[in-house]
Each structure stands twice: as structure tokens, then as C-alpha cells.
Symmetry: C2
Subunit: 420 residues, 2 copies
């Protein structure tokens, strides 16, 4: 925690290129473009690739470190945001692939146990990936109810009763992507450990929005994307975290050449690299890693605790304004589904409305970008580095106008595009 007073929300907006007059409350889906990323990527293409060519794997023409260690720069900048050591983090591929690797490795760390617990509120890809893992390893999936508004400890405990030594892994998404409800990560991790299981956390809606402290919580494994609150760009590489105490026994499902102890010895027998390095599979996506490393510079000098403080200020204000707007339109069925306790929510406010999709589209037409999630939820994310209290007020004013004019009923909103 910073000794100084918490900064004003949006205090690092000058580190981003945001279109003028846009209220951008969708940083929980795709973060804004940090300044310097475009220049850095252009240098990677023109100088490192175009001039350095193959030599840039070892060293770039401008004297920089080679591509082979580029992911390390990303890991170093991610580490303080999730309470990790840099050498516990592997960056590359997608969150789904990272989750697949972490889940299989997690189950293999608890041999003999055949149950994986996951939550019904999880992001769908987590459910699909864990279903794949269960099929390949012949496991049983057991569903728990999600974080609710109380941190989810009891819900998780309820899934952990039964025969002892059954549950290998509990895989949860810290923040419910629909409601914004947030697990009590340390308490849930402790409950998981009481049952002898391992805790695997999906931090997609956490890192960059508030401080996460995986080591303090004693968590085992984690994954997360970098294109939401971490602003890495569309489809930017994801990260996987493994607590150091599990490194020696880490046994991932897909062994690729970049996870070999000596990739360029080109031997047919696989010898895993030390630590999380063995989670590397194929050739790393250098353009994506370069953009991400540059993007993470937006967090330089930022106290992780200040993120959550600013997030709480922003979401508190938006909740109060939404309550007032709802009260002013008693004929509208607008139900806030996000927990009122700031410690129990992510950096997000969501409400149900019978025409939620139309509400979101009408807001976008007014320059306020949130997003819609089935079924019937309007969702607003508050990236603490660049969203301001003025943005909050403008969004609430626009919502008031949308309800007053019933703009959500525009027939143009009957057709939905591929991505909502």
C-alpha cells in the first residue's frame, strides 16, 4: 500500500492514446492502446526483423536483447501486478492453451485424485478446456456455484465435501465476467488446501484492475489474458503462473521444442527446461510479445494497491449514479447484479435489463462503450489507469437519456453482429 494518498482515478490517462470524447468502459474486453506501443512494434518489424533477420533471435541490430528472451521482459513487468516472481511466469500462446497446460499439470501434481472442481460462473472457455482435460485424463468434473456476493468460500467448501483425497484441482475464475462478483482468493485458496487440492486461478478480469497477490495467498497455479486490463492488444499472449514449490515436479501435457532444456541441441529425447520454461511449446509470438512488453510500461511506477483503490472509487460512483438513474425511471426493470462491497467485486459494474443489448448499443451511439453479455446483461469495465470520474458521470448521463428516450428499442438493434 502506498503511504501517500491514493491517486485520482485515470491518473495515467496520458500514457494512452484514446479517441477524444469517447467514454471507454470496455477495457475489460480490450484495453486501450498505450502510447509507445505502435513505435515499438514498428521497430520490431523494420529494424529487428527487416534488418536483423535471423540474427535478432540472439541480439537486435540496435543492441537490444534477442527475441529468445523477449517473454522475460513481459514476465518482469507482470510479476508485481499478480504478486509473483518473474521466473514463476511464462508468457505466450492463448489463455485457453495456458489453462489446458496448467490444469493437466495441476492434476498430475495430485496423482490418484480424479475430481476437478470448477464454477458455473466461469468464462465458457474454462469450462470447455476443463471438459477436454477431464476427457483426456479420465477425470470427473464437479461444479460449484461461483463467488456469489460473499466471496464464495462456502460455495467452494460445499463442493469439497465428499470422500477425502478425491479432489485434485479447484479451477476458478476470480471475477465473474458477467456480474463482476469476486472470490475471496486467499480464503478460498486456504479452503482448497485444507482438502489437499490445488488452486488454479483464472485472472483474466483481475490483473491490472486491482492488486492480486498469488504468493501471499499461497495459490498453486494461475492463468490470465493480457488484452483486457493489461492493454496488450487484440489477441495478445497470455501468461501462466506456477508457484515455485511446484516447479520441480511440473509435468505439462504438450512438450514442445521451446520448452526443452537445450532447444538447439535438436535431440529427439525431451529434457524439460527448468521451472516454468518447460511450459513453452512452440516458437514464441514475437510481435505480440513486443507489443505486450511495451504496453506494460503503462504500469511503471504504479503501486498495485492504487489500482484497486481507484477501481473502488470509480465503481462506487457508477453504482450510485446507476441507482439514481434507475430510481428516476421506475418503469424500467434495471437490476444491478454486481456486489455492493468493493472487496467482493472486480473493476466492473453490470446490470440486467430486458433490453440490455439495446441499452448497450444506444450507449455506444452516444459515445459510451460498454458491452453486452448473454443473457441480458449490460457490462461496464473501469480500467483504473485511464477511466476518470468524469467518464463515469458522462456514462450515467447517457444511460439516463437512453432510458428516458427508450432509445434501446431502436429496431436496428434487433440484429447482432458476430462479436457482441
Amino acid at each position: 500500500m502506498s503511504a501517500a494518498a491514493s491517486p485520482t482515478p485515470g491518473w495515467r490517462r496520458d500514457r494512452f492514446d484514446l479517441p477524444a470524447d469517447l467514454v471507454y468502459l470496455d477495457g475489460n474486453s480490450l484495453g486501450a492502446l498505450p502510447r509507445g506501443v505502435a513505435e515499438r512494434v514498428e521497430r520490431a518489424v523494420r529494424t529487428e526483423w527487416g534488418e536483423g533477420l535471423i540474427r535478432s533471435w540472439n541480439a537486435t541490430p540496435d543492441g537490444g536483447e534477442g527475441w529468445i528472451v523477449r517473454s522475460r521482459g513481459c514476465a518482469a513487468r507482470l510479476a508485481p501486478l499478480i504478486g509473483a516472481a518473474a521466473d514463476e511466469i511464462q508468457v505466450g500462446e492463448s489463455t485457453s492453451q495456458g489453462l489446458f497446460a496448467a490444469a493437466v499439470a495441476g492434476v498430475r501434481l495430485r496423482p490418484g485424485r480424479r475430481v476437478v472442481v470448477l464454477d458455473r460462473t466461469t468464462f465458457p472457455t474454462d469450462a470447455y478446456v476443463l471438459t477436454s482435460v477431464a476427457r483426456l485424463l479420465d477425470l470427473e468434473l464437479r461444479w460449484c456455484e461461483g463467488p456469489g456476493h460473499d466471496g464464495g468460500v462456502e460455495a467452494v467448501r460445499a463442493a469439497l465435501t465428499g470422500a477425502p483425497d478425491e479432489v485434485a484441482l479447484v479451477a476458478l475464475t476470480e471475477v465473474d465476467f458477467r456480474t463482476g462478483a469476486r472470490y475471496d482468493l486467499p480464503a478460498v485458496t486456504a479452503a482448497v488446501h485444507e482438502a489437499g487440492a490445488l488452486a488454479l486461478w483464472d485472472l483474466c478480469h483481475s490483473a491490472g484492475a486491482f492488486a492480486v497477490d498469488l504468493r501471499a495467498a499461497g495459490a498453486d497455479l494461475a492463468v490470465g489474458c493480457t488484452y483486457k486490463y493489461l492493454n496488450g492488444g487484440p489477441g495478445s499472449p497470455a501468461y501462466t503462473w506456477v508457484a515455485e514449490r511446484h516447479h520441480a515436479d511440473l509435468d505439462p501435457p504438450v512438450t514442445g521444442w521451446m520448452g526443452h532444456a537445450e532447444p538447439f541441441a535438436m535431440r529427439l529425447d525431451h529434457e524439460p527446461a527448468a521451472g516454468v520454461g518447460r511450459l513453452r511449446v512452440g516458437t514464441p509470438p514475437i510481435l505480440g510479445l513486443t507489443a505486450l512488453e511495451a504496453a506494460l510500461a503503462a504500469f511503471e511506477g504504479v503501486e498495485p494497491a492504487d489500482l484497486g483503490a481507484a477501481s473502488a472509487t470509480l465503481t462506487e460512483r457508477f453504482l450510485a449514479r446507476v441507482d439514481a438513474v434507475a430510481a428516476a425511471h421506475p418503469d424500467e426493470t434495471l437490476d444491478v447484479v454486481t456486489p455492493r462491497d468493493p472487496a467482493r467485486r472486480g473493476s466492473q459494474v453490470s446490470f440486467r435489463h430486458p433490453e440490455a443489448y439495446g441499452v448497450v448499443q444506444a450507449l455506444i451511439a452516444r459515445g459510451v462503450i460498454g458491452d453486452y453479455r448473454d443473457p441480458g446483461i449490460a457490462r461496464f469495465g473501469f480500467a483504473p489507469l485511464y477511466v476518470t470520474l468524469d467518464d463515469v458521470d458522462r456514462a450515467a448521463d447517457a444511460l439516463d437519456d437512453v432510458l428516458a428516450t427508450r432509445a434501446y428499442a431502436n429496431p436496428a438493434y434487433a440484429t447482432r453482429p458476430a462479436v457482441t
Copy 2:
């Protein structure tokens, strides 16, 4: 085959930004930078991401198609180079992950069969990945000897003898990355089918270097990287190809949200997308796909058959010059390991030399970039679009000088960097 005479090798060099005076014979490791890629990527960052933000998933601010279909543009440009329909190709993730998916799906298409055949000459990641597949699916790996200099049909047949209905999948790398020896892909595919097995081809050293015709050969599955002869940039996304006849039964190992029939319905039950779309796992790497799509424009208007003709001309000339250089230095032990028949080699010439690593470094010091591969092989790739016959002559002249001066014995070459 083009009716006109074959073009001069390097006839599309004007479509690339290559450093002046550099002889670049490492396009089989990282292709050169095609013109227009840097500008296209900059537009993706500044305009599509910076201005369009989340909206660019559906449509970009400059009126282009959204990111959600970006991989299709890559598939359309790849299709003619590998003899495929665009909707048989999925682009994204790494070759190793693609191979994992294709191998598991391939084995699942032949239920009851428990053997996978692979070649000892394969790129190591293929061996590691297939070992992972065998462990997860409880299969036996059986090794065959590689393409040799005769197309490899007999070597593969030898691995297919034994009990009938044993072999599910034969997974081979069309071009041996060390020697450049090349399988007779149609004949080997036919032999595999005679045994009732499926053929999975790794095209990393094939596509872009000569015409591949997967459909004509009746192949089943294929994977390939795009950063070698396809010039997609460092760590660019890989592709997976599945013959249309297998689409209905395609059953991949990792089901992710982007492979769902309705990803934004956000349901917990997985319903696979049609065709190869179900091979998508996580959010696609948009910067990498954008660079790749722009890079593939270098092949626009190029007859695939002309690639192989130019490649044969280049490699034939280099072989003749290397033979002459070797003859001029009878004290040097320089053994060409690449087949003499152009139909039996990729776009590559390799030789053994006791100081091969030093030979390659001394050539690099003279402005001729090839690469070294353990054990003891100097390797030179000839990207037909931009390597010229003048490059070949300059490389051979430099080799002559390196041997004449014994420059390979420089003590500085005793230490090797991370990437050789």
C-alpha cells in the same frame, strides 16, 4: 504449371526489404520482411486497436472486415500454396500446438488403432509433441528412417508391416530440416492409406519453397509454420489443414471458446464450430495474423509451380559451386548431404564439415547468412522469391575464401549463442 517460361530466381525480390549487400540464405529459418507489412501492422495498432478499440472485432474504422475473420484472409492466401481449399485451413497458435491438435484428432479418426509412426529425421518438436500425444492417448510410437534420397516410400512401408489395423497415423516432416531430403508425398500418402492409416504432414520446410498439393495427394492432415518460406515474421501464427472429408468427425483435444459454434452465446456446453473452425482455441493473435496476411501478398500472382522451378535452379547452381569449391580444397572434409535429384530435395543445400559451426560463422562475417544445425551441418536455404543466382555465386565465393583462409578456426567461434 505456368505455360510461360519459368521466371528467373529472385524475380519478386522487389517485394521484400532486404539489407543491401547481404546474401540471405536463411529464409528456411526466418523469411525476409515483405514490403508493406510494417505499414499494415502500424495501421492495425494505431487505427484498428487505438481508434476502433473493441469495435474492430466486427469492423475496422477504415471500413475493413473485423478481426474476427482476419485468419480467413491468411487461409485464402495460403490455400493455393499447399493445394487446399481455404476453408480446410485454420491459422493461429504455434506449429507445435497445431501438431498436437492434428495428431490427437487424427488418432481419434482411427479408433482402435494404437500405433503412430514418425520419422527419426523429424524436427525435434514433432517428436516431443507426438510423445506427449502417445502418453495422453496410451499409444505406441514407432520410428521410421526418414526420406533418405529415394523419397522414403520403402522406409515408411517397412514401418507399416506388422499386425493389420495397428497404425492409426503416420506423421512425417516432408523435408528433413537437416539434409533437405524430401519425401515423395503423394506416394508415401498412398502407402499409408494402403495400411488404412492417415497421413499427417509437417510442411514447415515446404510451403512457399515449392508447390505442395495436399488435395491431389489425398493427404489427411497437415501443419506448418509461416515464418520460414512464407515470411510471416518471427513467431508468426501456424496453420493446420484437414481434408474436407474428415471435417464432420473432427474431434480435437482442446476445445476453446473460439472453436464453439456460437462463441458469444457464452454457454457452458461446447458445440463445435463447423469444419476446421473447431480447431480454434483461444482469442486469435491479431497482430501476428495481420502481419502474416500482409506478408502473403508477396505470393500474389505467383504460380506455385514456379517456386519449385526457381528453387531447383538455385539449389542446382549452389550444389555445382560447392562441388567445385570442395574439389579446389581437397584437404577439407566437406560432404554434401542433400539429395542430387531436385525432386527429392527441398529448397535447401546442406553439407557436413568438421568445423561446420565455424564455417557458418565465417560466412556470416562475410555477409552470407546460412545457419548451423547440430550435429555438424552447415545449412543454406533458397527462398525462390528473393534469392538470386548472383546470391548463390557470392555465397560460393565466400565459402571458397573461408576454406582457403581456414577462417572457420577463429577461436571466437568456440562459444555459441542461445540460438544457433
